[in-house]
Amino acid sequence: MTPVPVHNFSGQTALVLHLSPEIGQRIKDRCDRLGVRALILTDDLETEAARGANTLILDIDTGDDRLLPWPRAAAPMPLIGLIGSESPGRLAWALAQEVDAFIPVSGLGNLFSAMVIAHATFAQKAERRAREADEARRGSGRLDVVRAVLALMEGGRDEALALKQLRTMAMVERISIEEAASRLLSERHRAGGRTG
């Protein structure tokens, strides 16, 4: 059974960054139907306003990195891009910002779908970033594993036995082998030599 994405946004807040009061009002009407409070902004987004908001709905036609109080592609909430002109340059800006879902201004009736997709995409991105950070950390720990194995071999063990000992330490401590290696090396460093 496919898991159902988050689809209940009741009680949440959406920031709407659009210069047209008419479109802002239409988005607010759609948000009302979903139980979402819409705050319509016509100026730069302040960090204070962004705090506590759950979604940002923004006009791609007038979008600019300087409008947003975070580095490019580092939004702390899901972004929904409103497509107006369809010019490739504007779409390029939105893609570079890693907008999570798109909706044409003429299709605001489907805002619910855009909300579901944006929140699911945002969650997937966060998951992927965490996984990549973890992999990078593990990658950088491989050298520590080699060093730890060599250190353990100083006692006359062969490399297979040294690696087995490191694995056992990791298993007992319930940590990764990279973490066990790093811990072993720092303990030895503190002790100024062999500890066991």
Binding site: V4, H7, N8, F9, S10, G11, D29, D32, R33, L34, G35, G109, F112
Partner: protein
């Protein structure tokens, strides 16, 4: 000014009984309003025969001929076929059927029950009966998929195990192996979101199954429109709805006798009847048949209909309805549970997140008929 009103219902085809009931309700209302001296309404009738392509063609023809208001569509599939055309031509659909929610289109008025009117009362009721195991079966399209998904969510949240789920193609009879599977799974209840011949064959097959202690069947939309077709196999079925024949007064009963092929009031009949009443009053109040103006008038002043007062939410475009549960017995429904007041529709189920209270599971209780 004569209002040309489109009526698009499949009065032939696989779910003809529902279409006939809804069509009869609309025609009954037109006749009743005429007798009351209301402005003339001229019905423009189309029968798409349950064929999705025909819905599109007939809706287009109707809108291109200048019709601006339509009462119609039974299935969500057909409604979704009609919506792009309504958007293009600026038409308004008065939709009189229960549906699965998650929609609020600016060219539709939703007068039938939403999931908080049917799925929630049914899952609440199952929990209060102390049932622990449920099997889900539905027609293989959006109504079946989404109502059963909501049912699964609601049941799981109430600690009830879903022991199986099957879908049957729209219009096909329910195959015997599914009946065997249900018996093997030994559920306390089956939630039935089948429509048309799939539903009839399912209920008859389940009742006739040789290896049987009875299983409680529950439906979100079974009505009097096709209850008699099912026969004694429907006895004991619990259905949720916004209206049953037992709720009908003389106006609806008279109209059903004159217009419905089976002479019965159903939620489809009553809601179509009410749709025409609301539309007629709103056109009169607005002084125009412009759909947006008519909708604003309908939402501004709730019409008194044969179903009672039906306020329409101006934002969500859904009617407030009274959720009811009824049990089938010998071709009729006895009401066993009724909300004290009409309840606002919650098509996006926004009330479901905020830690709604779980009804405490209790011992098996017998259904009590509300007089």
């Amino acid at each position: 000014m004569t209002l040309r009103l489109g009526l698009i219902f499949s009065t032939t085809g696989s779910y003809a009984a529902l279409g006939q009931s809804a069509m009869a309700g609309a025609l009954g209302a037109i006749e009743t309003l005429h007798r009351r001296g209301a402005p003339q309404i001229m019905p423009v009738i189309a029968d798409p025969r349950g064929d999705m392509v025909a819905y599109e063609c007939m809706t287009r023809e109707m809108l291109e001929s200048g019709v601006r208001h339509i009462v119609g569509a039974i299935t969500s599939w057909s409604r979704k076929e009609m919506i792009p055309l309504l958007e293009r031509h600026g038409g308004l659909l008065w939709y009189p059927c229960p549906y699965e929610g998650f929609e609020s289109n600016d060219h539709v008025v939703y007068l039938g029950a939403s999931p908080n009117h049917h799925v929630v009362p049914v899952t609440d009721w199952i929990a209060t009966q102390g049932m622990r195991r449920a099997f889900l079966i539905g027609s293989n399209y959006v109504w079946g998929w989404e109502t059963l998904r909501l049912a699964r969510d609601g049941l799981t949240a109430r600690g009830i195990e879903v022991v199986g789920e099957r879908h049957v193609p729209l219009g096909a009879p329910t195959p015997a192996h599914i009946l065997d599977e249900i018996r093997d799974a030994a559920p306390d209840c089956v939630i039935d979101s089948l429509i048309g011949p799939s539903n009839t064959s399912f209920l008859q097959g389940l009742a006739a199954h040789p290896d049987r202690p009875p299983i409680q069947v529950l439906s979100f939309n079974q009505s009097e429109a096709d209850l008699a077709e099912i026969g004694p196999a429907a006895n004991g079925l619990v259905s949720a709805g916004s209206f049953f024949e037992a709720n009908a007064g003389d106006t609806l009963c008279d109209a059903a006798r004159r217009h419905a092929p089976n002479g019965r009031v159903s939620s489809f009949f009553a809601t179509s009847f009410a749709a025409v009443e609301i539309l007629s009053a709103a056109v009169r109040a607005a002084g125009t048949d412009d759909p947006a103006t008519v909708f604003r008038a309908a939402a501004a002043t709730p019409a008194v209909t044969a179903m009672g007062i039906m306020p329409i939410d101006p934002v969500l475009r859904h009617a407030k309805l009274t959720p009811r549960l009824a049990i089938a017995k010998d071709g009729r429904f006895d009401i066993v549970n009724s909300a004290a007041h009409p309840v606002a529709a919650d098509p996006y189920m926004t009330a479901q997140s905020a830690g709604r209270q779980r009804p405490a599971p209790g011992p098996h209780r017998k259904l009590r008929v509300v007089k």
